[in-house]
């Protein structure tokens, strides 16, 4: 048993007085696809954003490949914030893909993908663009390198966003509903890129309403409900009957989204 890629212990997240995540324990196995499912407002995005350190957990600990993310427990057992440089180093292992793509509209696809190589990693322009082209080719968009986001379809934009994250060679990729903003006929091309990535052994955490994707590509599925992780397991365990009533209810709602295969 290798070290989990991400391990979450007793994580709590509050926004003001509202507790959005409660006592989350989760291990994300390396080289596997972990899916987070759950009803709207259950805290899936918030949990994923905590893993990306876009939100700071109110309590608890997150470690990435054994290194503390953001906070560590000092000798006295108190939670202490790590120095900025260390936080940046741990975050560098993580790539994030957003529901709304979040491409920079004033840069071409190539510009978006090569930007961080150039500005953060100081890679010379020519080399950065060469490496960016490799990633664009990987998501099947080498011929769109010079296009601005506004000239690309939603599916293409999301694939550029995936290439942008991959360009920094992250060890872990986080996806927050990567296909929810897309027209149904465009979800396939994005899911295919993700399938290929999974086949290459990328560690992935995917928040998705695509239950079909979760069931077929996911190695581990976690069901989140009202800020609590009700259970985590292999797809066969999660979807086996009898199911937890909350999951049953959730699956009923999403049956038309491809969960019918599990009925």
């Amino acid at each position: 048993m290798t070290l989990p890629a991400i391990s979450v212990r007793s994580l709590v997240k509050r926004f003001g007085t509202a507790t959005v995540l409660q006592d989350i324990d989760l291990d994300v196995p390396e080289g596997k696809v972990s899916c987070l499912i759950g009803p709207s407002g259950s805290g899936k995005s918030t949990l994923l954003r905590c893993l990306a350190f876009l939100e700071e957990a109110s309590e608890g600990m997150i470690t990435v490949n054994g290194e503390a993310l953001g906070f560590f427990e000092n000798a006295k057992g108190e939670r202490e914030r790590l120095p900025a440089g260390q936080i940046r180093a741990v975050r560098a292992q993580i790539g994030m893909v957003f529901q709304q793509f979040n491409l920079w509209p004033h840069m071409t696809a190539l510009g978006n993908v090569s930007e961080a190589l150039k500005t953060v990693h100081k890679v010379p322009k020519a080399e950065a663009e060469e490496r960016a082209m490799v990633q664009l080719a990987k998501v099947g968009l080498a011929n769109r390198a010079g296009h601005y986001p506004s000239q690309l379809s939603g599916g293409q934009q999301q694939r550029v966003a995936i290439a942008r994250a991959l360009a920094l060679s992250p060890k872990i990729m986080l996806f927050d509903e990567p296909t929810s903003a897309l027209d149904p006929e465009l979800t396939g091309e994005v899911l295919n890129v993700m399938r290929e990535l999974a086949a290459e052994g990328m560690t992935m955490v995917v928040v998705s309403h695509e239950i079909g994707f979760a069931a077929t590509v996911g190695h581990q599925i976690s069901f989140l409900d009202q800020g609590r992780l009700l259970f985590t397991g292999a797809p066969s365990e999660i979807f086996a009957k009898p199911r937890h009533p909350r999951l049953e209810q959730f699956l009923d709602t999403y049956l038309d989204r491809g969960a019918s295969m599990l009925a």
Binding site: H106, T119, V120, Y148
Partner: protein, 222 residues
């Protein structure tokens, strides 16, 4: 009264010099105003409430009082707090600070116009705060801030005429003096209107040109 163009020709060197002072003060005040305004907006965005609230208060006061009164206060009130300035530096200071208050609001709206997700994408990729400002926020807000900035530039030029009351040797001061000296008030007022209007028109055209260039260059086909 008969309009006499010879008055203008006779005093051409002074008129040119007055126009020069107005242009110099206007451009310097504008650039300083943009710089200070940008810094203020950035401090307000990242500095937390302890920075945002007091700066916001100062901006509101500056925007809520007439420029004429502000200039009077600095010029005549300044010496009481150890700030004795000659008319030109006093005028430049006043104009810059007044401009900064308005530019800071323009940049604040510019910052707010950029979707937060674009910033988060940069954070996830390891861009520093300064890199995010320089590479993402500023270019993305450029098209949003340009039209109100040109608008403000035009207002500043016209407000700069107020500096004549503290005897800054700018266009209005110069031409009014010529008017009194030659008993040619109408000619003077008319000439002033024409010169200001020509500069305003040139500035507006330049602004429109920049806008077109920026929009075709930045967001092809959007």
């Amino acid at each position: 009264m008969i309009f006499d163009p010879n008055v203008i020709l006779k005093h051409l060197p002074e008129i040119i010099s007055g126009t020069g002072v107005t242009l110099a003060l206007w451009i310097a005040g504008m650039l300083l105003g943009i710089l200070i305004g940008f810094i203020v907006a950035t401090l307000r965005r990242y500095g937390g409430r302890a920075v945002d609230l007091p700066l916001g208060f100062v901006v509101e006061v500056l925007r809520g009082t007439p420029f004429l009164i502000q200039i009077f206060l600095v010029y005549y009130g300044g010496p009481f707090v150890g700030l004795s300035l000659d008319p030109v530096p006093c005028g430049l200071l006043g104009l810059s600070v007044y401009a900064a208050a308005y530019y800071s609001e323009i940049f604040r709206a510019g910052y707010a116009s950029v979707p937060h997700g674009h910033v988060e994408a940069g954070e996830c990729l390891g861009l520093s705060r300064l890199q995010i400002i320089r590479r993402i926020l500023l270019p993305e807000m450029a098209l949003i801030v340009l039209p109100p900035s040109v608008n403000l530039a035009v207002i500043l030029l016209k407000e700069s005429a107020v500096l004549s009351i503290i005897t800054v040797p700018e266009l209005t001061t110069t031409v009014s003096a010529i008017g009194s000296q030659e008993y040619a008030f109408l000619e003077a007022i008319f000439l002033l209107a024409v010169i200001y209007w020509v500069i305003v028109e040139a500035a507006a055209r330049l602004g429109r040109l920049a806008e077109t260039r920026l929009s075709t260059f930045r967001f092809a086909a959007s």
